[in-house]
């Protein structure tokens, strides 16, 4: 454990140093990420200001769902999602070999090398949105916060498993940069309260592509709309992570390096 923390600490230091070598790029990236993440909430705001709404959801409740999604991305993306991009380039170029030459689990090295401090900008935008959303709702009780915290951990676990599925597929679909588009296309549905979709779609987003579990369920728990039964999400998230790990390691066997 001490060794793992030392590796993370060292890598964070290195990555930050890399970012600081091009400070304006770093600042611009963070700003653009913040702006990008606030587009959907701004559109939601405009929708509500025009008189329309998501049935059963106030503006602040809808924004809370989006805030939770952005916050979850703000933690998962810097630590886990970078491995999708680095796997894409490293497998294609054959430099993934260098990760296999390190005395650490390959998955861990892949996550380390993909660590991206830029993505912490999402934590900023998510926090701002969260604070704004909380202003318009009744302050939740302690139980709701506990439920929310546990379900938020599940959200991050689900995003982690998604990063494993996306990066694992790149050992087979070498150079396929469209994996990001797959994620964006699917995850977009998670930015909205699940009840606005048909029952069939809700089931898809709960039991097949667990997008709804990332933000909708934790936000609903915070709003007191979910009972303790919603904690089954934790088991589901754990199962997904396990499946993701098995899948990733299985796909790693497809890696054949590039030429000498």
């Amino acid at each position: 454990m001490k060794g793992i923390l030392a590796c993370w600490s060292s890598m964070m230091r290195v990555k930050l140093a890399e970012m600081m070598a091009y400070r304006s790029h770093f600042i611009l990236s963070v700003l653009l990420l913040i702006v990008g993440d606030l587009v959907v909430p701004l559109v939601t705001l405009l929708v509500y200001r025009s008189g329309a709404s998501f049935p059963g959801w106030t503006l602040h409740e809808a924004l809370l769902v989006q805030a939770v999604f952005v916050l979850a991305k703000g933690i998962a993306f810097p630590f886990f999602f970078g491995m999708v991009g680095t796997t894409l380039s490293q497998v294609r170029e054959g430099t993934f070999d260098l990760l296999l030459l390190r005395p650490r689990p390959v998955m861990f090295m892949s996550m380390l090398s993909g660590f991206d401090p830029d993505d912490f900008g999402r934590l900023v935008s998510g926090s701002v949105l969260f604070a704004f959303a909380m202003q318009g709702i009744v302050i939740p009780g302690g139980a709701a916060w506990v439920q929310f915290s546990l379900l938020f951990i599940a959200s991050i676990a689900i995003l982690f498993s998604m990063s494993l599925f996306l990066s694992g597929i790149l050992f087979r679909w070498v150079g396929s940069s469209r994996v990001f588009d797959i994620f964006d296309a699917v995850s977009g549905f998670g930015m909205y309260p699940g009840t606005i979709f048909s029952k069939a779609l809700q089931n898809v987003f709960t039991y097949i592509l667990p997008i709804g579990l990332i933000a909708f369920v934790p936000a609903s728990a915070l709003l007191g709309r979910e009972g303790w039964g919603s904690l089954w999400t934790l088991a589901s998230a754990a199962a997904l992570v396990l499946l993701g790990i098995v899948y990733w390691n299985r796909m790693l066997k497809n890696y054949t390096s590039a030429g000498g």
Binding site: G3, A6, C7, S9, S10, M11, R13, V14, A17, E18, A21, Y22, G94, T95, D97, L98, L100, L101, R102, P103, R104, P105, M109, K253, T256, S257, G259, G260
Partner: protein
Amino acid sequence: MIEVNELSKKYYTFERGHTMREVIKTLVHRPMKEICAVDRISFKIEQGEMVAFLGPNGAGKSTTLKMLTGVLHPTSGEVRSLGLVPWKQRREYVRRIGAVFGQKSQLIWDIPPSDAFYMNKAIYSISDKDYAETLDELVELLQVGDVMRKPTRQLSLGERMKCEFIMAMLHRPELVFLDEPTIGLDMIAKENIRSFIRSMNKRKVTFILTTHDLEDVELLAERVMVINHGQIVVDDSLTGLRNRLGNKKSVRLTTEQPVPDSLPAGLKLLERIGPLEVELEIDTSALALKPFISQFNESYGIIDMAIEALPIEAVMKQLYEKSHTPVHSV
């Protein structure tokens, strides 16, 4: 230290033609082709050896090395290196090996190598004391004290390669794989790197080197393995390799009269450098040096002469041009 037994690696690759029709056809159907990159090779390497792996492009050198480093799983065969199976006990194994790639950098482009060294310290769990001692020693040997605090992108290729060696050796590996370590370097940088490798080898670090630079082979390697078409065609000492040329020598002559193209038995024209300067190959088993010098001086008048052993390129060229007929001798 390393035992390889009937090691093989097969790939499947997609074939396609170059015409527009063939390219579009691959959208629907891509014919696959099996490539046998490494074909049942076997060898042993002892601790402290310096072995050069040679072979033409696509011979299977890098594939063999990747299996020895645990990066690739073989199709069949066995390897035991440092008492471990590289691809099965990877994490334990790679803790004891190092690798330097001439074409894949382990440094981080935008920040100083010293930061990358520190990151390696954490990854290999090197203690502060060992890190400081080893780093000081390597920095002293390679003379990169001033250089390692500059961003990697500002370093020359020679400086970068020295830092790559430090990255590979910080954890004091027993076995080091070098993949074209001197590629693109000037002669002074090459000599610095070679000198470092020799000093490490004296400390019983085993080196396995792949290179196309035959000077590296001549100045570093004690043993040469030539791979062609996935098989080992030669496994011999450097002296043994030279002896394959028999008793042939290279003679560079400047004469008073031009030397004709047709020459007596035992002589072969290698290169006509100028109207009165030639390089010949002499087979001393057919024509001894003393009569050759005497006859040539009488016929053409020798002004200047230099006799050397045939360069190793001559052997390699013969070996690369042969089809795979394995010849082992060690």
